[in-house]
């Protein structure tokens, strides 16, 4: 949806096709406010940001991010491993195709290898009350975290600079100020923008009952969007197993 489409939808509902009580600037202001409000309440604008720990320091600043909330943190292990693929030893002739014709130009083997990155590890969320009370077996890499204001705090205190991937919800980094622009939030969340604009417009018009009704509509819609798109429920073994009734059928 573009700003024009959103404005047209809102103006249709407000029954004011051309600007009179509600100026275009006000409508744009509310479109941007709606996008920020939807981001804050649902965390729908998601991003993965790299952070680096500092040796002997518990906190890692989030000040450079446009962060609403940290949802999860992953320790990125640096380096790679080279792995030989089993059963893939190939014999290849030298260019003259003569079997062992000289000592320095023989058939030789090629061992195909692949390089894989060391596996990252999702770290667990705790509270500040847990610092020093979790058995960490002299581990010095980040294993637990907690968000505290504009920081994430790490347990155990890292002994080196480690790279972390923070899975964060962010707020919009660009305001919409031209009619052809579109919101940054995912398409499915954009439908909540129009009820928000109508709510603000009715407040300005001092139609408070109408505003309250729109506010209720907006809040219920956000809750539905959170339930449908934001809550993540992992599959269990039982969800991926073929039911007995199917397996035994011949």
């Amino acid at each position: 949806m573009t700003v024009t489409e959103i404005t047209n939808s809102a103006r249709a509902l407000l029954d004011e096709a051309t600007a009179a009580l509600w100026t275009s600037d006000e409508i744009y202001m509310w479109i941007n406010a709606a996008e920020r409000d939807i981001c804050a309440k649902t965390g729908c604008l998601e991003s993965i940001e790299a952070l680096t720990t500092t040796a002997s320091q518990r906190h890692v600043s989030l000040a450079t991010l446009t962060c609403v909330k940290v949802n999860s943190v992953e320790l990125v292990e640096s380096g790679t491993s080279t792995v030989l693929i089993g059963g893939e030893v190939n014999w290849k002739d030298t260019t003259d195709s003569v079997w062992k014709d000289t000592t320095d130009a023989v058939w030789k083997d090629y061992e195909r290898t692949i390089i894989i990155p060391n596996a990252p590890l999702s770290t667990l969320r705790i509270t500040p009350h847990h610092f020093g009370h979790i058995r960490i077996h002299e581990e010095t890499k980040p294993k637990y975290w907690v968000q505290w204001g504009n920081y994430i705090l790490i347990e155990p205190i890292p002994n080196d600079a480690y790279t972390l991937n923070a899975y964060v919800s962010i707020y919009p980094t660009d305001m919409m100020d031209a009619v052809g622009e579109s919101p940054q939030i995912p398409y499915e969340f954009q439908e909540a923008i129009v009820p928000y604009i109508c709510m603000m417009a009715k407040l300005k018009k001092r139609k408070y009952e109408d505003a309250a009704a729109k506010y209720a509509e907006y809040t219920i819609l956000l809750q539905q969007l959170i339930d449908t798109h934001i809550r993540r429920i992992p599959s269990r073994e039982i969800d991926i197993r073929v039911p007995d009734a199917v397996r035994t059928k011949r």
């Binding site: 006000e26 202001m29 941007n32 406010a33 920020r36 409000d37 981001c39 804050a40 309440k41 649902t42 965390g43 518990r58 906190h59 446009t66 609403v68 909330k69 999702s122 667990l124 969320r125 705790i126 509270t127 500040p128 009350h129 847990h130 610092f131 020093g132 009370h133 907690v146 968000q147 505290w148 204001g149 920081y151 155990p156 205190i157 707020y171 919009p172 980094t173 660009d174 305001m175 919409m176 100020d177 603000m200 407040l203 300005k204 001092r206 408070y208 505003a211 309250a212 506010y215 809040t219 956000l222 992992p234 269990r236 073994e237």
Partner: protein, 201 residues
């Protein structure tokens, strides 16, 4: 275009749009700024939104208490280990294993340490702090960005109350209360993960 900034001049603009008074007439900017600062303090106080980390030192004069500045002290850490929270009733009844700080409690604007510190110990305090007030037009609230949108309905509610529009003021304050609860439930609680959260079962 850059991200929206919740600087004072922009907040005043949104409040005035809601009040239908684009240039100051009944409500001066100074009055609205008072309501805006009240909103920021209310948000910070009610949900502990402005979270800071501060280091304080126990005194060597066998004093149990250490002062802090803020709405609430939520956790205390000494030597990379969180102290365990107790109540003053439990003083002298908890098991000690040395002279180093092990337990703490909050009392007024102080935290009390058990055992009574015998030396100067650095304590890291995790605080719900008091936000500074906005005064310049470019000042930005220190509360989280995601809660700044709530300043407008609160300030507008106070302004309409001043204008004796009680019903409207109540309506807007109800919206503020609902939204604050909605946002703080989603954003602020620190619920630790259990092992079941990372295991495929």
């Amino acid at each position: 275009m850059a991200a929206y900034s919740y600087k004072l001049s922009n907040i005043l603009l949104t409040v005035r749009a809601m009040l239908r008074e684009t240039t100051a007439s009944f409500w001066s900017d100074a009055i609205l700024t008072i309501y805006i600062n009240e909103a920021i303090r209310t948000i910070a106080q009610r949900v502990g939104a402005y979270r800071t980390i501060s280091t304080a030192y126990s005194t060597a004069a066998l004093t149990r208490t250490v002062a802090f500045s803020g709405y609430k002290c939520l956790a205390v850490e000494y030597n990379n280990k969180a102290l365990i929270k107790i109540t003053p009733l439990q003083l002298g009844h908890v098991r000690l294993d040395g002279i180093l700080p092990k337990y703490w409690f909050e009392y007024g604007n102080y935290i009390g340490i058990e055992p009574i510190p015998a030396d100067i110990y650095p304590l890291t305090m995790y605080l719900a702090s008091i936000p500074p007030a906005l005064s310049g037009v470019n000042d930005v609230p220190v509360i989280p960005y995601s809660l700044c949108g709530l300043i407008t309905p609160f300030a507008a509610s106070r302004a309409l109350e001043q204008d004796n529009k009680k019903d409207v003021a109540t309506e807007l304050m109800g919206m503020f209360d609902n939204d604050l609860e909605f946002l703080s439930q989603a954003l602020l609680p620190n619920i630790p993960n259990g092992i079941e959260d990372v295991r495929f079962s």
